[in-house]
Subunit: 141 residues, 2 copies
DNA sequence: TTGCGTGCAAAGGTTTTGCATGGCA
DNA sequence: TGCCATGCAAAACCTTTGCACGCAA
């Protein structure tokens, strides 16, 4: 049986390494391409897109869109399995991804399912907003 | 003094009418263009983009991006104000957008702000999942 | 008449697809 | 060897810009 990761290739490893290195921030295809080229390990953008699609399916990366930007953002999904049980908050200013471990969200989820008949996809759903630090910084100005 | 609305033209009116008609939904430039063409009141996309930019400046429409979509979404601002108070559920199967008017979500939001210091952007945040109808249909098979 | 509004065509950027070649297993 | 992976080129999109012409005031 295939585990779905396909062949081990230089390209796949380079992309994954970069995503893991930048796991605390989100990166675009442009970022990946640029970085790998500087590293002397150039990978065609087509390949990058195709690997990101696969990683997305496997739940190893998450994909976001950020207002005001043109290209999609990707971020390594650390502890992917655990992330199916909680929500994620994405700060629209600093781009930080916060894992919200809070029983109240689980309750809301059950409520939405029981009363509204809607089953939430934890992996895909992201709360966008402004984090504490960024709110503080902008209030200072 | 200029009120910033510019000349009254057929095109501006047609775009505004459509935005108001669809005030409960997110519409894209493609939606607007398509609709106006079917209506026999075709407006060039360039003009649509330019008007949306102006309406944005005047605060008459809101612009945002939704995960999983390629083009920007716009919504008439009147209704948009109401949409700041509730969450949106998007079915991953049928694509339907549901406005969730439920006090429990407001409570969760206050909780997240008070306890976790994160201010949710209602406008951008969308819950992805499977709606009642689609769950029922797929269970039947 | 004046100057903004309009829309075609073209450009710029992101993402996808076709296809021949390369490389893992 | 048998597939999958790769990457170039081209296509498909979305959005913006340049420019000549149209039209509201």
């Amino acid at each position: 049986m295939n585990n779905g990761t396909g062949y081990k290739t230089r390209q796949r490893q380079a992309i994954l390494d970069f995503l893991i290195e930048k796991k605390d921030e989100h990166v675009t295809v442009g970022n990946i391409s640029e970085h790998l080229e500087k590293d002397g390990a150039k990978v065609g953008v087509t390949t990058i897109y195709r690997h990101l699609d696969k990683l997305l399916e496997q739940g190893l990366v998450r994909k976001f869109t950020v207002d005001g930007t043109t290209s999609a953002c990707f971020q390594y999904a650390d502890q992917a399995e655990k992330c199916r049980e909680h929500f994620h908050l994405k700060c629209e200013k600093c781009g930080r991804l916060i894992h919200l471990n809070c029983s109240r969200t689980a309750e809301l989820c059950s409520h939405i399912f029981d009363e509204h008949g809607f089953e939430i996809d934890f992996f895909r759903t992201v709360f966008y907003g402004i984090c504490k630090e960024c709110a503080y910084l902008s209030a200072e100005e």
